[in-house]
Symmetry: D4
Subunit: 253 residues, 8 copies
């Protein structure tokens, strides 16, 4: 219920066109309708052209199909993340119009192609080639949110000159997503070189003491470069949404 709708209802009660009992019923559950409204409003805020996002991992293929169908019927764009090749094959049998990104492990659908907004691109940086799938998940998320982005791949700290050669791109970006596994040192270096927002994504790349991303995660959280923030291991999607939150902030929302 919007403020306007509330005012109209009260006006109708005053005029007698709505009986007190009917108004009572409409209002007694207001808290939750209102909260639902706020929630919807928030959703709208996040979602100017933004797809509904479904976490594919841990869901059965038929559950994914069901959820996606409902979203498509309501006219929304769709993004499903963390979809295995097996899941994708099963879903695509039912919903052949979806697009599967095998690197990003995403399924997506756009009713109308999303056009990237103007402005300098977000930099999506990886330390190594094995971190690319996480980067692609972030990139696909940004793409569906109409946020322009640029790949800066394979610039890990063991070959620093590769990173230093791309500083202009990083310094001009509205935000930098830095994706690294192993010891996860790259965000510290980037955060010391550029003053823009740096969102660090640890990946599960590495073996032994990499501990499936834990070492990269702890390294990033303990970064000696101030103001670097961190998301869950392999969470390219989350990093992209953090960027969406930032860039939408100044908008009409």
């Amino acid at each position: 219920m919007t403020p306007d709708e509330l005012r109209i209802l009260l006006e109708r009660v005053r005029q007698g066109s709505t009986p007190v009992d009917a108004a009572f019923v409409a209002l007694e559950r207001l808290p939750f309708s209102e909260l639902g409204y706020a929630k919807v409003d928030h959703h709208r805020g996040l979602r100017l052209g933004f797809p509904e996002v479904v976490l594919g991992e841990g869901k059965r293929s038929e559950q994914i199909v069901g959820i996606v169908r409902r979203l498509l019927e309501s006219g929304e764009n769709v993004l499903v993340t963390r979809v295995s090749e097996l899941q994708a094959a099963e879903v695509l049998k039912e919903l052949p119009d979806l697009r599967y990104g095998s690197l990003a492990r995403t399924l997506s659908f756009e009713h109308v192609p999303v056009v990237p907004a103007a402005g300098p691109p977000v930099a999506v940086v990886t330390a190594g080639t094995s971190d690319i799938p996480v980067a692609e998940e972030a990139l696909e998320t940004l793409r569906l949110c109409a946020i322009p982005a640029q790949r800066v791949f394979d610039v890990g700290v063991a070959g620093l000159h590769r990173l230093l050669g791309r500083l202009d791109v990083l310094g001009a970006a509205p935000a930098v997503i830095v994706i690294a596994g192993m010891e996860g040192a790259l965000p510290s270096v980037v955060g010391g070189l550029v003053g823009v927002p740096v969102i660090a994504v640890p990946t599960s790349v590495g073996y032994g003491t990499a501990f499936s991303g834990l070492t990269a995660l702890l390294g990033m959280l303990t970064s000696c470069a101030s103001g670097v923030t961190v998301v869950n291991i392999d969470n390219g999607f989350g990093a992209a949404v953090a960027v969406v939150r930032m860039l939408r902030r100044g908008g009409a929302q």
Copy 2:
């Protein structure tokens, strides 16, 4: 060395007013001067009125005094974080003009009082009263960076109505810093209610399975609300600098 300085040097070589040997010496270390320059540039970007920040923890009082003295002489504002009462007393004996915030555990000095910028305030939210010191560290950092901020304290998830009553403040903020110990659930709830950037700070508040902030940290990283980012345990300063990175981004930097 700036591009202009480089061009002038080359011009002088061409004119013969600078011998090749002297130019050689000036240029052979260019990489590092240039990098130093880039670094300074970045610092300048971060530092329009921004104080040099010193981590007090693990430093001897005389070390802090020495570093602060050098900063004061170069005319910079100063912020020292994680300063114990004992350290503060020792430093204040030598540098009585510094101001000690006993809650924030910061020492600071402004040559000229910092005036907050215009615009809606950043919301600094705590789950409980024991989280306030971390919030005050963030607030002092924001204050010295001229970023307006507003306290929203003691709105933890065990008393949800307290939080819901402040949603307007949170939804209007350019960013929200959410500080919580124990199970660290507050950022998930806030991130589900507002679409603005949410930076989560786990605190070491709690006992037993709180594991000195580890539980809150893991909870925040695993948040089911998308796009929440996280900093180190008790790192109010880092969360504030992340906000500075965001808000400076669109500016003159």
Copy 3:
């Protein structure tokens, strides 16, 4: 053996109607029969129509078949938990009358259908759809114990309005089982909203820092809502038995 039965036996020995040898046999294992009795009594207390429960995980199919056969022969209802699809197929070949719940991963058999007791239902709450298998295990356990229950699914803290719309159900329940993975924040929120017993079940849902349920577990144990209790990760069965212990408490047991 009850005290009355013991007294009767002794009386019969005195009267000569029970020979000493027969009494000796009955009594020589008394310590253990007694303890067994206490145990049986406890079992009976727990088991008014309650099935014997077998943990299927880690057992070979032929072991499950053997145990179930013995139970069926003694006329008891049967519940086998954590049964994989493969195990189920093998067991069902031998015992085709059992029912396999593929979501709950349970095998069960009722000699006579269990009729739910009267009274308000226990609320079984999940944060997300991936938590549903754990909920179904709890529900199947409650069903076989004749305890009425109600599903309140997919009401995680990232969409708080969904939970708030169901508060009436939760507040009226004799107990609430709250099942959540990822950061496990839901029990804290529920525990702050309703005063009834809240039993939290962490699930292994999530990736990266979810650490297979450890993060949810720690979050629940560290809950800022007082009086929330916790069971093992994914232990829907255990949560249901905890409810059985509570609701049987006031009964004839």
Copy 4:
């Protein structure tokens, strides 16, 4: 706002005695007032004579004094938990009427002495004498909630006969709180012997591999006795509140 108040307000709008604008203002924040109300209602539910509980740990003495003063002025009983001897001394200087339980580490005040309810006592069981402080915290909490309780101390599994001699007390209790450090095996044994609700409290008693209670905690969560639930390490207060939730459930609440 109660349902009755809402109905009266609407009636007044209909009658014209309350203008639409005034009603609008009253209603537009209804969600949160309502939620606040629900929260208060819940509090009332939990709090028939129940004291406000303050966690003393991590608070300054003057903060404790301030909070307790406000509670006393509103006529509520008070319980402060995890209060060190130093804190207690400082608080008692300001509020000499409070009572400090040095074992339980609680400060409390009753405006009118709380009289225990009728019925069989809750059993508060400890494995060893070093677990007693945690037990006393639980007992003091139960006492202020008018719930009768009985001590069953020092009955750890290394001397099983001590426990077996008290089975009658445990089996008759409406709930059993089992408190144990070291390997935390006692709840498994108790849970296998009696069918009543068992709430396990791990304690930080022990050294080396006791890991400050972690080992006891993990053991209790992994208990082979079904339906045992667990709270945070050393959390005697939380276990007591869990019992309050159970026993209040069937009552006038």
Copy 5:
């Protein structure tokens, strides 16, 4: 109650020489009397001249005094372990006849001096000098159990020749207690050199990755020498009791 006693009792009931009521009383608590008896028997088995052992850590000095007084009055020897210097001073004020071993951190009292049994001594081996307090706790325990023992100190694997020079002592011992901190490698080496029972005690000696004894503990449990068994970190007492269990085994017990 033995089987024979039970048969006699029943015979007497049959003959009328024991009334049913008396038999009932004798039998109704049989489980626990029996268990109690077994327990006492076990205690006696362990305790031929063996002192009651009290864990001092975590107990208040007055508690220690109370327990020791009771033991002294019943004529038993006494051993209190893990007693700090402060605790010792307070206890000795009340009980000046006790002896405090400041290295072993034990308080002990013998009514009649314990005379060591005949036979080859148990070898108590340490890797370094910092492990000696744990060794002394083991030695004091063995001494009070009349088991002869021999010190083999400071023979860690970084100076293997020291160990090899003492192999004769180790190979002749009925059991070897090997105490080591840091990486805890010594038991593997000893276990590979001698075929006698090896009980490994990790100590909290070391820093950094020693993790307060965890590394030594894990190393000992993972020993490539078969048949090495392990006790808790710093648990010299436990290792000694394990030896007592072995050596008493063949005795009159």
Copy 6:
């Protein structure tokens, strides 16, 4: 080289019957020959009829075949532990005379059947049926060492009466191996009931907070029953060898 041999050698040098150069060669490597000898002696000590034991896990089938062949040729009995069904099938193709115990996961061969020694049997105790494979590994090891043993299975603490009914067997055993997963409480209970050596084996049985045996391990190490010793998770073989060390100790070794 024995002392006597050394004396003879020196005598021969003195007499000139052995040249200095030959004596030099014999003596310069003495340390290692001597050590090798000691080692062989130790092996003989451990190996009166004892098979060479090979850890199958992590070895290729052809490696196992090669090692076993060499052992068979030298006339030794053979025990291979932790052999998967796949490995076993491959090895049995080459060495069809070996016997595979599919529960124990062992391959073994006896040139002459091992006859158990006289005396009371070692008790091999399990908490549940899923712990049986570990028990069978211990039993097979004991069997090949000619040590009599007895199964006491499925007597976990959740059904204490089952354990209490077997106390006579446990109390008469020269040693008890107690095997338990989940919370690993059984050794504490057994250790409190009998005074014989108790060797605890944690197993990886359980899920969630069982953490693949870590919880059972920690519980056993932290046992409140004194003198219980512990081996690696699932290490039935190691527990059996610890018993061999004990029982061989008093023998001819």
Copy 7:
């Protein structure tokens, strides 16, 4: 750009043969070219005949093929590490000239066979046979770097005489790589016996408390033998490169 090239460029500017604008363009990116140069120089230093090394794990077979093709075209020798049998088969289909070492799990190619340098061989030591694959990875790396090496396998601390018999080889080596799983005690023993550089490699060999190499790792880091250094779990390649760094140090690099 080399110093000489810089000097020539400046000379040309002075002479007017290179215009200022062209020199400006060449120099403005000097930092990164220079750094790139330093990097190349470093590579050259490490790479006198040294192959480019590719980590195969986590890469798709077609990625490996692509990278190797590029390296082959530029005339470099190639080493790919951590290549599974499946990956190897797929790569060999495309690049049949590569050699797959199935123990070492490496793919390699030499344009011209690498000839080992003169001098005493590096000792590559393993505790057990299951550690051999890690050793072979190190050996293959050393081989391609022309560093002579010698195998000293299966000399774990449980059979110390095997190690002592090889001390001459170890003491003469320019460096010793010690590879051990389980408790990882071997480097401590070796480090106490020889004064040459000891590089310890923990392996994931073992089960239970071996924790996939963590226990060996911690043991090695906590070694009581001074100056032992450690690399990642199973990282034979890294240990070999550490040796290359040492031995190249004094060379022409």
Copy 8:
């Protein structure tokens, strides 16, 4: 006993100038004397002017005094590491000629001042000023071993230009010790820039997720720069000894 001494002894036996009995006594402990010899030889190898090193931590002051006295009497230089200010004061009372380095926390004594060897200095690099104490421990160790060293302090990755400006020093060093706390990223960067041996020392500098050096340790072990080796947390001494092992390698040892 050296080979020469052995040959002389045998010659004397042959000549009759040494009786067989005396030779027997000298030789019967040869294994251990030999081993001792090897050990001494190794010590000598390590110790050309090298002090005996004593770990002060965990030792009582009187123990330190005793050990140092014995060393001084035998004419050796002395180094005691990890000595607290309190310990130092107590030791200096007894041994006022020792020198206490309050930053390095070392006590040392040189009979004759140690003169640094010729050659380029080892670089001792720290990320921050709080890492300096660990560096000073390394430097003091190197100094007493006559190895020249150079400080390169405060060049952490958050200000990369500081490091890049010192590359010449690092590239020319025979070895680089890189000391860093927090995320420990510096060794990866250094290892990617220079080809010399890099020994990484994690420090306990940092808070929260620094976990007392664990994060830095894991990061260093997982370094993406090949051939970096790692020592224990805060172990400056160990890193220095690793360098000694390398540099002595090529020498007369």
